[in-house]
Symmetry: C2
Amino acid sequence: MPLDDRKKRILEAVINDYILTAEPIGSRTIAKRYDLGVSSATIRNEMADLEEMGYLEQPHTSAGRIPSDKGYRFYVNNILEHYLKETYDYEFESFNEVFAEIDEIVKKYAKLLSSITNHTIVVKMPRIDENTIKRIQILPVDSNKLILLVMTESGIMKNYLISLKDNIDSNLFEFLNNLINNKMTGKRKREVDKTLRDEIKKESGSAMGFIDKITDTILNSLKQMDETDLYSEGISNILNFPEYKDLFKAKTFFDLIDNKDIMNSVLEPEDDSIEVTIGSESKFEEMWDLSIIKSTYKINGEIVGTFGIIGPTRMNYKRLINEINMMSNELSKVLSYIYQENKR
Amino acid sequence: MPLDDRKKRILEAVINDYILTAEPIGSRTIAKRYDLGVSSATIRNEMADLEEMGYLEQPHTSAGRIPSDKGYRFYVNNILEHYLKETYDYEFESFNEVFAEIDEIVKKYAKLLSSITNHTIVVKMPRIDENTIKRIQILPVDSNKLILLVMTESGIMKNYLISLKDNIDSNLFEFLNNLINNKMTGKRKREVDKTLRDEIKKESGSAMGFIDKITDTILNSLKQMDETDLYSEGISNILNFPEYKDLFKAKTFFDLIDNKDIMNSVLEPEDDSIEVTIGSESKFEEMWDLSIIKSTYKINGEIVGTFGIIGPTRMNYKRLINEINMMSNELSKVLSYIYQENKR
DNA sequence: ATTAGCACTCTTAGCTTGAGAGTGCTAATC
DNA sequence: GATTAGCACTCTCAAGCTAAGAGTGCTAAT
């Protein structure tokens, strides 16, 4: 049975008020605050219907109603769409010409979003994994150490210090540098595997034994770059919500945010749009009284990471969806601008 | 008036018990739990004396006593020294040869220390500022972008992406690279200032206008590296302490940890040893019910950053001092090992 | 100098109670 | 038939009260 218009309006009213007050909402409150043209008794009946249909719940008899996960879902899917028509188009004025590492920029945006929304933000940082290697280079530091610098097409940079057992002379170094540069540039990181190593091995000829070791080391360090990088900002914002005045619940929340496995899975982008997961819709029990709104961010059209706003299911979906939308668009734009080739 | 032996033992007993229970300690409890050979009445009198002398305080009449900041200070200075005789000597077994960025290593140790101690750890990350530049290099990315890579004597590495208004040709690039390399290597970062810029300008000759701009950009990005980098780990551990069951207090604590100015000042190393600041000894009002135990960490003898364990004044100074001591020694050793030149 | 004893103080956990908010049902009304 | 007024009933929660418990400080005895 589809919801008639009055039921929709009542559901919306309950959600709106509950988002604000975190208190169960009674029929009289709605009759007073919203001009629905019917008395509280009618609303009372409608609310009983909505509860029976699963959109509302009652914490205990003779308390008001609160929205259920299903109620929020209906709200997000059916009621919210009217408000989300606006598109944001942001024009960049001017740019400084020095850019921090990409991670710093992403963190800055996470911080901004957290302070605007007063929510906890979780971020999957840009990963090097799926990207094409644009530049790979080794640089000598001293006789037995070198820096491995990798930069991908989308602008992610990583550097690692490699310490060698034996000293390396400058001719050999030059040779090695050219070799890995030729072999690895333009490849995706995951393509840089054993086959490639064998190829390098073959070409290195006389210096083989030594080159062999170094190549292994380099491949190793590339593997290290794999580890997903998670970041969070504004965790303590959870304490602003009265439902987290219980210390134990707060502690559980902190532990959840620190749980790399769950966060990683939760932040995995499923499609290109903004996704909302409400309470028990999550496959993780730990998330059942939380909602997350997540959005990807991109460099030149390629998804490089994910942003999420996480908080109690009672969240201001309307406002937050707008804000994450704006923010991820802007971040993508900034990153793309920086890493765009020959832009002028 | 110096404390006689019995008073010392009673003070120690109060502190020990209070660290464990977070409850005011009464005379009877001490008589029962510690075998001092006197009755509770005697202890009662002694405690009254200790209170008058400022080592103990009473939350309200007819409650037990809790240690004052002065009490803790006395404990740390006079009682603890017996326990701190042990020295740790750690031998490294073997090392993998790829090292993550220095920051990652420091963070790993912070995490470890936090999980061992169940306290919040604040860290001043390695700074490039006071260190000699060992290697500075620009690398072309594409026609209008380059990477600036700086490495200091102690092994701190930073890289920045620089985006140029105009394209740069490879001859000019080579020239510029040699120039900044010659001029900046071996200098301390803060010495790389306007004077140097002028020098570079003078030598650049015909290409001057262009080089000028790039040099400015480079100096700018060096300035960016200045910003102190603070890091914290295990913030939520504060919720383990009953004195932070009050949500408002917890929130204040979180804000304090996020306050870069205060944390930066608090973590400024004053001397080479382990420092303990107890409650109101701090110049920051925000720290008055907190204590911090801090220790520096070094690379090849040079201080590069600071570690701090922060928590309620009721902390297990004895255990924590030992643990931060061990940890910072080990970290210094690891870092020095990695960045030691020609170690084999 | 130490200790037993005791009156006194202060806090806190547990209990009771009444106000307030809200429901669901019934009967009257539009 | 849908809406509404009215009312009995339910449940929560804050306020006030009380008694138990922990601890002190003082006095007088050892």
